[in-house]
Amino acid sequence: MTDRETFLNHLAERSGRPRHLLGDNPLVPVNDLPETTLSGKSQDELLRIARKNSEAVNAHFQTTTKAKLPGVLDTFIKDKITDNADEPYQANGHDRLLLPTSDLFADFGLESWRDGLEDPTPTFWRPGAGRQANIDAAEHAGAAIAFADYMLAESGSITTATTPGQGRAFHFLPVHYLAIVRKSCILPRSRQAMDRYDKAMKAGELKTSNINIITGPSNTGDIEMVLVVGVHGPLDMTYLVVEDM
């Protein structure tokens, strides 16, 4: 391989510009469109925009309250797992429910709901359980219920940073997927989310190797440009916004 200094000096030489001029020439954006687009909206307005744009990307958009949250989740589990026969294209069966290991169950008042789940008994993404065990749990999950950090109104997306209790494959291997998000965490655009993550990572408050912006179920147009929903990732995606949080 080429030595780094040799490589970079070669670039400087070809361009006719010396290295290390960036310090005096930082990027000063020509406009502030990423911040100002969709700015100044109330949470109610953002919720309305988010709903419209989520539906446009084939995501199921639901709202509920903290009190009704367990009931809505029970219905989701029944629809996606209990009443849903195994499908032939799924390699390894999909009869399990996958949940994260997270303090957020307490915040959302879901601890007793979680502890009382029986049909099916949930499997968890467990810190310390290791790569293989967690990937197996995700692969056999008919459905996963995740906690999202933010929702983006403009694109109908949810965002999530990988944690020891909610890994990367958590969001990709299960067949069906639901993300819970607070209404107060609906942001206008990806700009605001990136600013928050960037700040938290640089301040050392967030230690993560991976940030996902997920916008609807996985899809492709690779065969004759016909939209096929559900390729590698979940076949469908539900966003559940808790309005009084």
Binding site: R4, L8, P29, A91, S157, V228, H232
Partner: protein, 586 residues
């Protein structure tokens, strides 16, 4: 040092490739359908975002700035990758990059490798090299790339839709033959079958190779945009991840990455953002999945040939392929016509730059009508059509690639069109001289204004035209435009009771030596530097007609036009992009 030795994907010459493309009517229809569908989606997405031209300015600024300070940003990025526990390797050539990855796979005794779609991995030929390792299983996981791999590594024909040239029946046939598929040709069923096949492979995967949409300099993460989720599975399951990155695919921070992601998705597929937009690096302690070993291979492979030259803007490219999606030439010759893994306008500019010569792709700069639609649609404002002209200039002026006969003919043409007396003589004779070559066919709407006659063969450089299309027969002198126009002006003058004037091309007073003659510029007529009306110019032209003929007037081409006052493709592109930005496509 040889670079980009593997980007050529056809052994056939340009004209043979064109002939093959011409015969592939399915691919032509598929490309036309894709272009039309993407036009509607792309423009609607840009329209909905609003202020598209200002977004383009921002996109251009971010990319220009990054390319300008590329060594500094690469230094910052590589420091941060290492800080995160990853490793960075710099490769000046494709061979260097490929050998590094193959040696790594050998060293780690890897037998199962998955890949997510990446142009730069095609550029370094890593697939075929890895498959030479005994017992190696390699899987392309993007659905289109998976189809191409199963079809004995058929070549991709589009940057975003690599299998655009295959229909559902062809895909079904490949799956039946190679994978034992038994279902129908419904794209949903085909995709679900592929999901199942690939999922099993994903789970025993030891190493992944991904591309990199953008590297984030200030935190060492890489940013990947996909719709299928295959790249995310590539980054979640295996213990080893190798990221292949063209050295220019870097942005200062998360904010700039986010901005460009938004512009990329809108330009590539008319989405606001791709289904999965991921920022990633080496696994952090405590996390269960994600790569424990994270390698980034930063690849030059001829990109530095562009630095400090007129071609530097091509490094701004974000690979959205919208230039392919608006290109009339791409519409007709498809991806295979270009013979490079990088097709379309961007490919025609980039391929010779990566190689640093015109040996493999001398014809690509000419696969362009200079309509400038590519320049108008480019989200980061790369002046693509101007760069193609620049390639032509280098090929002709610096490398003298024109044939001597063609060169001589063009000199004669230049002489003839450069002197009004010669030009008029030629106009008077062209019809008569070409008569022996004329062919006649019944008059139709297509040839209504060409006497129903046409030419199917012309000598010298003109043969380039008649090889691919008929040349309408020039009208007889008594029917040509200049004669018609003169008659028209006379009739107008008679009706208006004015003196009939014969229009003449006004010329530069300095060239003819006569002071005070009218001069035609892009924005109207001038005399002694002051604007005058067309009628005044023509009246004065008539008074001096004998003097003009006697003085062997200079041509319009020699006229002095101040820089910036002429209309060129860029103005057309600007106008078109302004129009695009305001057009409704619903």
């Amino acid at each position: 040092m040889k670079t980009a030795t593997m980007i050529r994907n056809s052994d056939h010459d340009f004209l043979t490739r064109l002939k093959e493309s011409e015969e592939d009517t399915f691919a032509q229809k598929a490309v036309a359908k894709a272009q039309d569908a993407q036009w509607i989606k792309r423009e609607a997405a840009r329209q909905e975002l609003g202020n598209w031209e200002d977004w383009r300015s921002l996109g251009e600024q971010i990319r220009q700035h990054t390319v300008r300070y590329l060594p500094d940003y690469l230094e910052e990025f590589s420091d941060n990758v290492e800080k995160n526990g990853g490793r960075v390797f710099f490769a000046q050539t494709d061979v260097e990059a490929r050998d590094f990855i193959v040696n790594l796979a050998r060293e780690k005794q890897v037998r199962n490798v998955v890949k997510s779609k990446s142009m730069v991995t095609s550029e370094i030929g890593v697939d075929k090299a890895l498959l030479e390792i005994e017992g190696m299983n390699l899987l392309e996981t993007d659905l289109a790339e998976f189809i191409l791999q199963q079809d004995d590594w058929d070549e991709p024909t589009h940057l975003v839709f690599p299998a655009i040239h295959k229909d559902r029946d062809q895909v079904r046939e490949v799956f039946m033959k190679k994978l034992g598929y038994e279902g129908d040709n419904d794209p949903q069923h085909l995709a679900r079958f592929a999901r199942k096949v690939m999922r099993e492979r994903f789970l025993r995967n030891e190493m992944s190779i991904t591309g990199c949409n953008f590297a984030v300099a200030d935190n060492g993460m890489i940013n990947l945009d996909t719709n299928e989720g295959n790249a995310d599975l590539c980054m979640a399951i295996p213990k080893i991840q190798v990221v292949c990155m063209g050295m220019e695919r870097i942005v200062p921070g998360m904010r700039e990455a986010e901005t460009i992601d938004n512009m990329l998705a809108r330009s590539a597929v008319g989405q606001k953002i791709t289904t999965y937009c991921t920022f990633t690096s080496r696994q952090v302690d405590g996390e269960a999945d994600g790569p424990e070993e994270f390698y980034v291979v930063i690849i030059d492979n001829g990109r530095s040939n562009a630095l400090g030259t007129d071609f530097e803007p091509i490094l701004q490219c974000i690979r959205c392929a919208s230039c392919l999606n608006v290109c009339p030439v791409y519409r007709h010759i498809g991806g295979h016509g270009y013979g490079s893994i990088y097709p379309g306008p961007v490919g025609s500019v980039l391929s010779p730059v990566l190689q640093g010569n015109y040996d493999d792709f001398p014809d690509l700069p000419y696969a362009c009508s200079l309509c400038a639609a590519c320049t108008a649609t480019c989200p980061v404002k790369i002046p693509l059509h101007k760069l193609l002209i620049k390639h032509r200039q280098i090929e002709m002026d610096d490398l003298h690639q024109s044939k001597l006969v063609d060169d001589a003919v063009m000199r004669v043409v230049g002489l003839g069109t450069g002197h009004s007396s010669l030009f008029r003589t030629a106009l008077g004779m062209d019809h008569a001289m070409l008569t022996p070559l004329q062919k006649k066919r019944p008059e139709t709407a297509e040839n209504l204004y060409s006497n129903g006659r046409h030419l199917e063969w012309m000598p010298f450089v003109f043969g380039g035209w008649t090889k691919v299309r008929d040349l309408p027969d020039p009208p007889a002198h008594s029917k040509n435009f200049r004669t018609w126009f003169r008659e028209h002006k006379r009739e107008q003058a008679m009706q208006g009771g004015m003196k009939a004037t014969v229009p003449q091309a006004p010329r530069d007073p300095r060239a003819s030596g006569s002071v005070g003659e009218p001069v035609l510029k892009a924005d109207g007529y001038y005399q002694d530097g002051r604007p005058i009306t067309e009628v005044q110019a023509h009246a004065q032209g008539q008074d001096k007609v004998s003097e003009r003929v006697g003085a062997r007037a200079a041509s319009l081409s020699q006229e002095h036009v101040p820089e910036g006052s002429h209309i060129d493709g860029n103005d057309i592109a600007d106008a078109a992009s302004r129009q695009e930005g305001t057009q409704q496509h619903d």
